[in-house]
C-alpha cells in the first residue's frame, strides 16, 4: 500500500474531522477544523482533478506523525482518538 499522503487522504480527513472548507485563492481550498466552536487546525487542499495529488505537508498541519495522518484518513484513528491526541498536545482544552 502506498504511504504517500494524497488529496484523497486530505478529503477523507476533512470528512472525518468535520472540517469546514472555505474557498481561498487559486491554488487551494482551506479546511478549518473546529472543536467546540474553536479553530484547532487548518490546512490547505491543493486544487486539481487527480486524487493522487501529493499532500506531504498534512502531518505538519495536523500536528500528527506521518502514520497517524494515514491512520486518520484510513480509519484506524477515530475522531475521538484525534481529540484525545490534540488534548494531550494542549491544542484542545481538556475538560
Amino acid at each position: 500500500m502506498s504511504r504517500t499522503i494524497t488529496k484523497e487522504h486530505a478529503e477523507k480527513i476533512v470528512k472525518k474531522l468535520r472540517a469546514r472548507v472555505v474557498t481561498a485563492r487559486a491554488a487551494h481550498d482551506l479546511a478549518q477544523v473546529f472543536y467546540d466552536d474553536v479553530l484547532i487546525v487548518e490546512f490547505g487542499i491543493r486544487r486539481g482533478s487527480s486524487k493522487d495529488l501529493g499532500h506531504p505537508f498534512l502531518p505538519n498541519d495536523l500536528q500528527l506523525t506521518h502514520r497517524q495522518t494515514l491512520d486518520l484518513a484510513n480509519c484506524p484513528l477515530s475522531y475521538e482518538k484525534w481529540v484525545e491526541l490534540m488534548q494531550s498536545k494542549g491544542l484542545i482544552e481538556s475538560i
Binding site: 504511504r3 491554488a27 484547532i40 487546525v41
Partner: protein, 140 residues
C-alpha cells in the same frame, strides 16, 4: 501449527512494525536538500511585507513542498516554483481567515500562527481603509 501460535503472531507484528519504521526512514532519506527563499513582496495583492518571510522548499518524491516554518504553513507543487507560489498564496489565505475570526475562536495553534504572521505582514493601508469604509457602509 507453529504459524498459528500467539508467539508467531507477536513476532510477525513486531517485524511489521520494524518494516514500517524502515519505510518511514527511507521516505525521509528520499527528500532532496532544502533551499530557503525569502518572500519580499505579495504584489499585486494588497499586502505589505514587514520583513522577508523565509520559505523552505525541498523535494519529496515527485512533489516539492514549501514551508513557512515559524507560522507552520505548508504547501506543495509539482515544481519548486509552483510550491513556492502556492505557499505564498496560502500564507495570505491563512492570514485572512485567522484575521476574520474573533480571538475567542482561535485555539492555541491558530493564535500563535496569527501572532507570527502579524510580525511578517500586514494589509496595505489603502486596502485596510477601503475595507473599513465598506464595513461602515454596510453597518449604516
Amino acid at each position: 501449527m507453529a504459524s498459528q501460535s500467539p508467539e508467531y503472531a507477536t513476532r510477525l507484528n513486531a517485524l511489521e512494525e520494524s518494516l514500517r519504521t524502515l519505510q518511514d526512514r527511507l521516505e525521509e532519506l528520499d527528500e532532496t536538500e532544502a533551499v530557503t527563499f525569502h518572500v519580499e513582496t505579495f504584489a499585486p495583492e494588497p499586502y505589505q511585507v514587514k520583513r522577508p518571510i523565509p520559505v523552505v522548499v525541498h523535494g519529496y518524491h515527485d512533489t516539492f513542498t514549501a514551508s513557512f516554518m515559524d507560522a507552520n504553513i505548508h504547501s506543495a507543487g509539482d515544481t519548486q516554483q509552483e510550491a513556492y507560489s502556492n505557499v505564498k498564496e496560502l500564507i495570505l489565505d491563512v492570514f485572512d481567515s485567522l484575521s476574520a475570526l474573533p480571538a475567542a475562536q482561535l485555539g492555541p495553534k491558530p493564535s500563535k500562527q496569527l501572532a507570527v504572521l502579524r510580525e511578517f505582514l500586514d494589509v496595505a493601508d489603502d486596502h485596510e481603509r477601503a475595507r473599513r469604509e465598506d464595513r461602515q457602509e454596510a453597518a449604516s
